[in-house]
């Protein structure tokens, strides 16, 4: 009786181990995919990965953040498309480009940069774990709120403006870019 129990226990243990291993393997596969993406990016940085003629890149240049985004990082940059900038009230973007309003522009841009590499799937997991809501810290010190709407991830800023993430991870040497369709505003100064 006792003799027959031992293999059973061993088998149960092996099963548990293999379950754990398969989970680890999944992570490893995912990580390998990520490493592969970084390898493909070569030495192309976030600064190079943003269209040099886009409004967002011009704004980063005006704020002097283009060199930062070419630095070691890693950063997660939320890039609103040109249409998003066009949606802003008339003259907002031109106003930001003046040397006098670099303060305001910097606040807005650092609200679009997150520390570390956050993939869309990571935000998705955090939303699921946080009962449908995930708070994301930004470099500017403020926070963004991420929620799900259907299969899309929606980012909401301090003023309640919403922007939809395209859901693609553009992996580069020093981080990742997410495209969104709205400019996020940090809201009132804390």
């Amino acid at each position: 009786m006792r003799r027959s129990l031992i293999p059973l226990v061993l088998a149960a243990g092996a099963l548990a181990l293999s379950a754990c291993n398969s989970q680890n393997q999944a992570h490893k596969d995912e990580a390998a995919k990520g490493s592969e993406a970084v390898k493909q990016a070569g030495d192309k940085t976030i600064a190079a990965g943003i269209d040099q003629n886009s409004s967002f890149f011009k704004a980063t240049k005006a704020a002097g953040l283009d060199a930062t985004l070419a630095g070691p990082g890693p950063y997660t940059v939320i890039v609103p498309d040109d249409a998003a900038f066009a949606k802003l009230p008339e003259g907002t973007l031109d106003g930001w480009m003046k040397p006098e309003s670099r303060t305001e522009l910097t606040r807005v841009l650092t609200y679009h940069i997150l520390p570390g590499t956050v993939l869309a799937s990571d935000i998705g997991k955090a939303i699921d774990a946080g009962n449908g809501k995930a708070v994301l810290a930004t470099m500017g010190g403020g926070t963004l709120t991420a929620t799900r709407e259907g299969d899309k991830i929606i980012l909401t800023d301090g003023d309640g403006h919403k922007a939809t993430m395209a859901g693609t991870d553009e992996t580069l040497a020093n981080g990742v870019i997410h495209r969104v369709d709205g400019v996020l505003m940090p809201g009132k100064k804390a």
């Binding site: 992570h27 490893k28 995912e30 990580a31 390998a32 990520g34 490493s35 993406a37 970084v38 390898k39 990016a41 030495d43 940085t45 005006a62 704020a63 002097g64 953040l65 060199a67 930062t68 070419a70 630095g71 070691p72 990082g73 890693p74 950063y75 040397p99 006098e100 670099r102 303060t103 522009l105 910097t106 606040r107 650092t110 997150l114 520390p115 570390g116 590499t117 956050v118 990571d122 997991k125 955090a126 774990a129 946080g130 995930a134 708070v135 994301l136 810290a137 930004t138 470099m139 500017g140 010190g141 926070t143 963004l144 991420a146 992996t171 040497a173 020093n174 981080g175 100064k189 804390a190």
Partner: protein, 440 residues
């Protein structure tokens, strides 16, 4: 991991190369490779071109250009002449300045002294608090106990109750304090950096005045080349820097048309408006950057740190945090006199002949040595995680760099989060930061 490091290294190189190119603009001394010297040539050329722009050369060019149409041409020539006349007037002005400069300076000094005296009298008269302060300083036996070199000395202070206290005093700083910043004395930090100083009300009066007026308060210089993208000279305007301000000058009449105050200079010497302060919102890690002392009181408000003189309440330094738009084109506060870049970033950012790097809340700044202006944000940093403290809000999403994900992935018993060059292990249950798992 190796790949990532290599990529990062390449990125660092990419940053470093404009640095060497920049050197040409400054006319720096030679060292380094061929490319650098080629760049240097280019830099010199550009500089020449620009100096032509600013001087009378431009007017002349315009005059000759106008020769095509006769009438218009004459008008242009006229204008050119005017320009020339103005220039000679400028020269005269300068000469006059040269002749009378000393007198005038002396006169101003005299007035300044009078003002100061008046203030001291005032203090001894009806300003009771000030009087007390003075008495405490002089009557209770301040004794110089020891000299440390010739700048810092130790003072023994005996208070009314017989308590003895030692403190170290920076001689320059003490001198500055005695002058009082509000009455024309320069804050020692800025004075040392040669930036000059001027209260903002004074500077605003220069709008619409010729540039020479402003140059009396500090040497005005063209901005270093690295700032061209920020304060870009064009056909209508050019920029000059000095005395804590960047002046925008209209090329057509050579009058100051606008100014950008540089933080750290604009509010100095002014009383701090209590409306600006909301100390309860101060991020906890700021006190490590800006410790209070019996003489320096730091106040935090809406993204700015104000260093004030505890006795007079006057602002000595304004240190905006990065989120409030501090950064590029601004003065690095004089209090950042030593290298303080976090260890994780030291391999990327070492001080060199052209730039030095300083860590202030929110970012590592690259500072131009010549002008003490911030020329780039080398890296953005967050408020940071502390081992043993709760994980800050906003880190619920996994953010470990891709190269490290195969080792540091979230498990039921431990989470990993990246922050400021470190991967931290976080306890999922208590949400406390458990340890530093890896230094990137």
């Amino acid at each position: 991991m190796m790949k990532w490091m290599l990529a990062a290294g390449a990125a660092a190189l990419a940053i470093a190369s404009p640095v060497s190119a920049e050197k040409g603009g400054h006319g720096g001394k030679g060292q380094g490779g061929q490319q650098v010297s080629a760049d240097r040539g280019g830099g010199g050329g550009q500089k020449q071109a620009r100096s032509n722009h600013t001087g009378g050369g431009q007017h002349q060019a315009r005059a000759s250009g106008g020769g095509k149409h006769h009438e218009a041409g004459s008008a242009q020539v006229n204008r050119g002449d005017k320009g020339h006349a103005r220039q000679t007037r400028f020269v005269q002005n300068d000469n006059r300045g040269g002749g009378r400069h000393n007198d005038r300076l002396r006169l101003e000094n005299h007035q300044g002294n009078q003002g100061r005296q008046a203030m001291f009298e005032n203090r001894q008269g009806d300003n009771h608090q000030g009087n007390q302060g003075n008495r405490r300083f002089e009557d209770t036996g301040v004794r110089v106990a020891r000299f440390d070199g010739d700048r810092v000395f130790r003072v023994r202070d005996v208070d009314r109750h017989g308590g003895v206290r030692f403190r170290d005093v920076d001689r320059d700083e003490l001198f500055g304090r005695r002058l009082g910043y509000g009455v024309g004395g320069c804050p020692p930090g800025l004075a040392k950096k040669g930036n000059g100083c001027m209260p903002p009300g004074q500077a605003a009066k220069f709008i619409g005045q010729p540039l020479v007026r402003a140059s009396r308060f500090g040497v005005l210089e063209p901005l270093p080349r690295s700032f061209n993208s920020l304060f870009y000279d064009n056909d209508d305007y050019y920029y000059r820097y000095g005395g804590g301000y960047v002046y925008r000058v209209d090329r057509h009449d050579d009058l100051i048309s606008g100014l950008v105050p540089l933080f750290g200079a604009a509010m100095i010497g002014q009383p701090l408006n209590p409306y600006y302060v909301n100390s309860f919102n101060q991020p906890p890690y700021y006190s490590a950057f800006y410790p209070n002392s019996p003489y320096d009181c730091h106040r935090y408000g809406y993204g700015y740190v104000y260093e004030t003189d505890c006795m007079t309440g006057l602002v000595e330094d304004v240190i905006p945090t990065y989120a409030s738009g501090y950064g590029i084109g601004q003065i690095m506060p004089a209090s950042y006199s030593y290298y303080n870049v976090p260890y994780a970033y030291r391999s990327y950012y070492a001080d060199n002949n052209d730039y030095y790097y300083r860590y202030a809340p929110g970012a590592i700044y690259q500072v131009d040595r010549g002008s003490a202006l911030i020329s780039a944000v080398a890296a953005l940093l967050t408020g940071g995680m502390t081992v043993g403290q709760p994980m800050p809000a906003g880190y619920s999403a996994y953010n470990v760099p891709l190269a490290y994900r195969s080792t540091y992935f979230d498990r039921p018993d431990v989470w990993y989060r990246y922050d400021n060059g470190y991967i931290y292990a976080v306890d999922p249950g208590t949400q406390l930061v458990r340890s530093i798992a890896y230094t990137v």
